[in-house]
Subunit: 494 residues, 2 copies
């Protein structure tokens, strides 16, 4: 579905705006490290300028119709200024990664300005390791969950030589600013479009947005196949406290091969191993705070995508919330993995497989798009303790202006009363964690990061010491000692 001037926001996109508060930002991001030398700032600007016509939403801002006549619309921003959105900064000396994460935390702490297109891209120089970093920061509502195309998708190339992108015949000129009549009439256009696409439910959404939103939420939860009787609130923990606007961010680098080594040794999926490692880290973190974990099972909200009845490019993708168990009461790592696997196996295999397929099939490199799908859920629920989102990325190197992208780290978001979020993304043999915490509530975010490392290392050591051969010959080479074996091509996820 093309992104057009006067498109009306979907009910769910509009709900992202409504759910956003001064302390619960609804933007997400990704940090990409690239080889040097850093392109000149003007070169980056020109590169983005040459591809911006592929993502029209990035030059559109919100327009509120008068008299509350429906949801906001996307309209061309007549004062669009690329240099406002693309920003250049640097780390102070010596330029360590800790300094980079501190910067990322700060930049994610500021709400996007609603009067402009809802995105920023930061070019960060002064890295001790050389090269440069790119931080993308994009509002949920901007990212078209349908077409799955965002700025990061169009900025990166699969070859060192940038692809020639055909230019439009004419330079971009914004449509004239809409009149109040346009803003109301736009609603009618939206209705007509929706009807043409055969999506009858949207009609109801316009007439009764609240009830439609509720129905959409319920439908999403239905697809989510919550199989354990978990409709009581998630346990009270230090994770679920009032949060402020400020964020901390840190990362853990891992090898995808290590996760495969573990699943091959003990069974389960890569995602089961992720949840087991997160459980182990949470267990240690809670103990460090003097919180007892006997009998406590926390719950992760794990966004998954399931194919609906429609094809892609219509309203085909459905997002569901899986409420995955985090058995922090189990000390033994292998027993913890088995408990996770047992609970997850209770979910219908068929639906999950379809979801994984859709996620893997997302074209190109689109972490914001996939992360955005995580928010197609109702975050006002108190049914989960934290978001754990696991995004498969491309298993081949990508380039920007000929510089190889060496590392990718996703940045999730914190719904109200949720002080920690874990995002994981694989890329070219890596399986990196991006940890986002409330600045005050998670002052010990590094302790949690250390828990991730320790918990994974325990499982890797146990898997290595196990003498049984890997289950399938085709997967035997997936394990590596140092995680450096980059697997080319889209690696299958368990």
């Amino acid at each position: 579905m093309a992104q057009q001037h006067l498109d009306r926001l979907t009910a769910i996109d509009a709900s992202f705006l409504a759910q956003e508060g001064p302390a619960s930002h609804m933007h997400i991001g990704g940090v990409v490290l690239c080889e040097g030398p850093a392109p000149r700032f003007e070169e980056i600007l020109d590169h983005i300028r040459s591809r911006l016509h592929l993502v029209p939403r990035y030059r559109q801002r919100l327009a509120e119709p008068p008299l509350e006549a429906g949801r906001p619309l996307w309209v061309d921003d007549p004062t669009f200024n690329l240099e406002y959105h693309v920003r250049q900064t640097a780390l102070p000396a010596p330029g360590t990664e800790d300094q980079l994460w501190r910067l990322v935390g700060r930049l994610m702490s500021q709400q996007l300005d609603r009067s402009k297109p809802l995105w920023e891209m930061w070019i960060v120089e002064g890295l001790e390791r050389g090269g440069f970093a790119l931080l993308s920061k994009t509002h949920h509502s901007l990212i078209d969950g349908i077409s799955g195309v965002d700025l990061a998708t169009v900025m990166f190339d699969v070859t060192p030589v940038p692809a020639e992108v055909p230019h439009p015949d004419e330079p971009w000129r914004p449509h004239r600013e809409p009149t109040p009549v346009d803003l109301v009439a736009g609603g009618a256009i939206g209705l007509a479009k929706a009807a043409a696409a055969g999506v009858a439910g949207v009609l109801g959404a316009i007439a009764r947005p609240q009830s439609a939103l509720r129905a959409a939420t319920e439908a999403a939860e239905g697809v989510g196949e919550v199989v354990w009787a978990g409709l009581n609130p998630a346990p009270a923990t230090p994770l679920n406290v009032e949060i402020g606007p400020h964020r901390r961010y840190t990362v853990v680098r891992n090898s995808l091969a290590d996760f495969k080594l573990i699943k091959n040794a003990f069974g389960g999926t890569v995602n089961d191993v992720v949840l087991t490692v997160v459980s182990g880290a949470l267990r240690a973190w809670l103990h460090g705070r003097g919180v007892r974990t006997e009998g406590v099972e926390l719950r992760a909200l794990v966004p998954v995508s399931t194919r609906g009845n429609h094809e892609a490019n219509t309203l085909g993708n459905r997002i569901a919330a899986m409420r995955a168990p985090l058995p922090v009461y189990i000390d033994d790592p292998v027993a913890r993995l088995r408990a996770v696997k047992l609970a997850m196996d209770g979910l219908k295999e068929s639906k999950q497989a379809v979801g994984a397929e859709v996620l893997t099939g997302v074209q190109g490199f689109a972490p914001p798009t996939i992360l955005a799908q995580a928010s197609r859920l109702n975050f006002s629920t108190r049914l989960f303790n934290l978001i754990v989102t696991n995004v498969p990325g491309p298993q081949l190197p990508l380039y920007v202006r000929g510089r190889e992208m060496t590392d990718v780290f996703p940045v999730a978001f914190l719904p109200k009363n949720h002080a920690l979020a874990v995002a994981i993304m694989s890329y070219n043999g890596q399986m990196n964690f991006g940890l986002l915490g409330d600045y005050d509530a998670l002052s010990d975010l590094e302790d949690f990061a250390e828990g991730i490392r320790t918990s994974l290392a325990e499982l890797v050591a146990l898997a290595r010491s196990r003498t049984s051969p890997p289950r399938a010959a085709g997967e035997a080479n997936g394990a590596s000692a140092n995680g450096a074996s980059a697997r080319r091509g889209a690696g299958a996820r368990g």
Copy 2:
């Protein structure tokens, strides 16, 4: 007046909070350039830590009483974290001053977090010129206009060797968080204090904050001695449009001696020359936008301080708004200066002289304090086109951790519907302009800066070509060709 836990905000300080909106920030700042090498970040933190007890407000946050029982109070922040407030960043290569001003614009665009002490201090590295920069960003309401002490005051030394500041006997420990009863009782304490100080008006302010505020505003305007019949709104110009939250910042470096050269050649005060130069720059800027200036006189709001009936350390300082003329209709620079002088002479000499004395007498180096006084006015008025604030600073070098402060630039603020503000500060022979503009409305802020340079250069050339000797022998050495002659000691202002 000491800054204490459970102090209630004054009516005027509370009005700064009320007047602040998403697009009209009520924080001000100063940029200081220092010689290198930059101290280690930890050294800066320790330095601030060692002097923070001198400015207790900097560890206090706002607390709202329940049931709207009066104005907010200042309370110790039990989660105070110096590293949140003091931040380290760097410019991207090559680290030009333009890049620094872009950073300042960005940092001033973000509202301070009301849940924490209302200030930030940024250490900026990576300057092409060497050394480092300090940006202070402080909310109006934080700065105690009474005692006139702020963090910048206590951070800088008058000698290269940092002064030994006596430490308190015990390390700082926050008072316990106030209960709702404390927050209401605090009001009673505030009342008692105010009564003890003999400030009966404050009693009424608590009972009827709106009417008290109005009375305070009227009193300030009365003191301001608005002598020309200027109670009709200021002319409509591109300066007075709806503004957004984003800012541009740039500076113009000048020599105080050049301003004295001009006043000695043609009469008037340094401040008259400032207003003449600003008028010339506005004239050129308006012409550049195709706006005609025939018959147009713009109006600057010029904050001045006048000594009241009370001594300092009580509520002694009164701030008044002078609405100074900016005769943009006059092309000839000398005629423009004469028109400014004529209008300004209409203001009572006595009051102005007292105001200047109070301003000059402010202890040490306190640009935020003085700038804050500018906001002790009602900015909802449409009676002026822009703020022009001229702050005399010390005429001797200052040091931070032994590094000489080489340049100072003040950063003002933009009230609603005011897209440009001009702040001027003198320091050690310099007379630097800091120009703050709305990001979108003043996209041509550099053109205005160029107009300042051109307008001043015109007057300097005319003053030099004038053959008549300076009026007073004692002032004859005040003029310099390049502005490099640093005058030591507090230079008298015209």
